[in-house]
């Protein structure tokens, strides 16, 4: 039920993000979703890609600091209040969200939210109990 995300350390200066995306583009890697968190000095690029092993390998070789992180991808009905219901359920069970980012599928029917939790396994259990639709890695990579 977990999805592997690739995280990349980026210095906060012009061109670093362009370089990562260019390297991935040249290697034929397709980015499914991404988010960029930034501070004054550095940023962290989080990526869901169609080939995570190749992505990690190719970026490491090019000198980037890269790691894989476990996240959970949830399909949320694209209507007002959809996300609120899910977050409410998690809060009641005392599960903490470290960060999240969202994107809408081509069909536009559902939104997909990528969550990073402090306790991934318990979060999955809570979400399952609430009948929330959790996407498998293969489903997400192949979107």
């Amino acid at each position: 039920m977990k999805v592997e995300q690739i995280s990349v350390f980026l210095e906060n200066r012009p061109g670093t993000l362009a370089e990562v995306t260019r390297i991935l583009g040249e290697a034929g890697i397709n980015i499914r979703a991404l988010s960029l968190a930034d501070t004054k000095d550095f940023g962290i690029l989080r990526l869901i890609v169609n080939d995570k092993e190749k992505t990690k390998d190719i970026l490491s070789r090019r000198g980037f600091t890269v790691r894989k992180t476990e996240v959970v991808a949830v399909s949320v009905p694209d209507r007002p209040g959809g996300l609120a219901e899910i977050l409410q359920g998690l809060a009641e069970s005392n599960v903490n969200v470290e960060y999240l980012y969202a994107f809408v599928q081509h069909s536009g029917k559902d939104a997909i939210i990528i969550f990073r939790f402090d306790e991934t396994d318990r979060a999955i259990q809570v979400l399952s109990e609430k009948k929330v639709k959790i996407l498998k890695g293969e489903e997400l990579y192949a979107l």
Binding site: F9, E11, T16, D41, I44, Y99
Partner: protein, 433 residues
């Protein structure tokens, strides 16, 4: 292994008698042949014939690096140029370079000392020495080279640079001994990794590293990453080049100073007072056998400690502790003395952090600022910002606790900091005072 059993294990009494004899001869040579020394001796009211015991050494005047610059290029040579067969010079980061000369006998002495050094590190005739010290005006390359040939080992004069080719040659030629700066050893390990090769599986057995300050933690890292024994060697071109002192493989604790050729002292860098064994201070050397460029009480600016306890290797020569900093590298930040090596030791004590760092000192208004750039590698990288911020704050706190100055840590991408093939630049001081 001991290369020169007789002189390296000479009983202290005989060694000191030899030192006195050679000290008097050196004092006479410089007094007769070098106007600078004659003037300094006369000002101090001492003549070579006044030297009756080794204690009289402290009556002789110090020689400073500025004295060498003032007599640029050949003003302190004690022999006519027709007897000089080699000239070296140290990089002049401030002003003119420091120039040193060697007679044929000096070159032979130096080769002997380097053969002793290589042997102390466990090098033998059948070793293949991968000499990645720079060849040229810098004494590192040729110093190791002549010592290796004297010892009878096979030397690869690869010099510095072109790290990929270094790795290929190391692999194909089966190099067993690596000689270079410690930071370049780590750079080579990284290059091998990038090339998909395991340097630990190569034939490399020992590394002899010097020419820049390093630490015990860095030794551990080099030994682990390269799968070798790492030995510290010390020297400076003014005194002779590499081969002034070296650790023995048996103890790896302190560097034996070849006392039949040099007399070391430790002084208080402010008062010039000679300090007892076991006390931290500035290293001072007097050469005993050099012909072209003898030195009397040369102030190295290197900070160390001498200890005389006998060593298990059998050498009777005094040991110096690994140089812990330079009095010229010392930064004064908001009135606090800071040695870059102290910052390095803070970083090395934090799990996963590598010793690649850059200090940027600046001044905002009337206040000095210190920025410490640290590389983020895969061991410490977390994709949660708060974890990286916790790491930055831990480093800042440890620096504050150890040094008493506030620093701002900036995390930077791996390998964005310079991996020098010579001496690494660790400090940028932007203050305009």
């Amino acid at each position: 292994m001991i290369w020169d059993e007789e002189f390296e294990t000479l009983p202290r009494e005989a060694l000191e008698a030899l030192q006195l004899k050679r000290l008097i001869a050196t004092a006479e040579r410089v007094y007769t042949n070098v106007p600078f020394y004659r003037k300094k001796f006369d000002e101090a009211g001492i003549r070579p014939s006044d030297i009756k015991s080794l204690k009289d050494l402290r009556r002789l005047p110090f020689t400073m690096k500025s004295d060498l610059r003032d007599h640029y290029p050949f003003g302190l040579f004690a022999v006519p140029m027709e007897q000089v067969v080699r000239i070296h010079a140290s990089s002049g980061t401030t002003g003119k370079p420091t120039v040193v000369g060697y007679t044929r006998r000096d070159i032979n002495t130096w080769a002997e000392l380097m053969a002793r050094s290589l042997a102390a590190a466990g090098t033998q005739k059948n070793d293949i020495i991968h000499n990645a010290y720079g060849y040229g005006l810098f004494t590192g390359g040729l110093g190791v080279h002549y010592g290796a040939e004297k010892l009878g080992a096979s030397v690869i004069p690869i010099s510095g640079g072109n790290s990929k080719r270094q790795i290929l040659i190391m692999q194909d030629f089966g190099s067993t001994v690596l000689t270079c700066t410690p930071s370049y050893a780590l750079a080579l390990a990284e290059t091998a990794q990038e090339m998909g090769l395991d340097i630990r599986k190569m034939k490399l057995r020992v590394g002899i590293f010097g020419a820049e300050p390093w630490s015990e933690k860095m030794r551990d890292e080099i030994e682990k990453k390269l799968g070798i024994q790492a030995i510290d060697i010390y020297g400076l071109s003014e005194v002779i080049g590499p081969g002034v002192s070296i650790e023995c493989l048996e103890a790896k604790r302190g560097l034996h100073i070849f006392e039949d050729h040099f007399i070391p002292e430790i002084i208080d860098p402010v008062t010039g007072e000679v300090l007892p064994y076991g006390t931290n201070g500035e290293l001072v050397f007097t050469t005993l056998t050099k012909e072209a460029f003898p030195l009397i009480r040369y102030r190295t600016r290197d900070i160390s400690v001498l200890y005389p306890e006998p060593c298990r290797c059998g050498r009777t020569h005094v040991r110096m502790e690994r140089v812990s900093g330079r009095s010229d590298d010392m930064l004064i930040i908001r009135g606090v003395n800071v040695f870059p090596s102290q910052i390095e030791s803070v970083l090395m004590n934090i799990e996963g952090v590598e010793p690649h760092y850059l200090l940027i000192v600046d001044r905002q208004g009337a206040l000095d600022t210190l920025e410490v750039q640290v590389e983020v590698n895969e061991k410490v990288f977390s994709d949660e910002i708060k974890n990286l911020q916790t790491l930055s704050r831990k480093i800042e706190k440890d620096i504050k606790d150890l040094l008493g100055v506030s620093a701002a840590v900036k995390l930077v991408a791996p390998k964005s900091l310079q991996r020098s093939e010579g001496k690494a630049q660790r400090v940028i001081d932007k203050r305009k005072i």
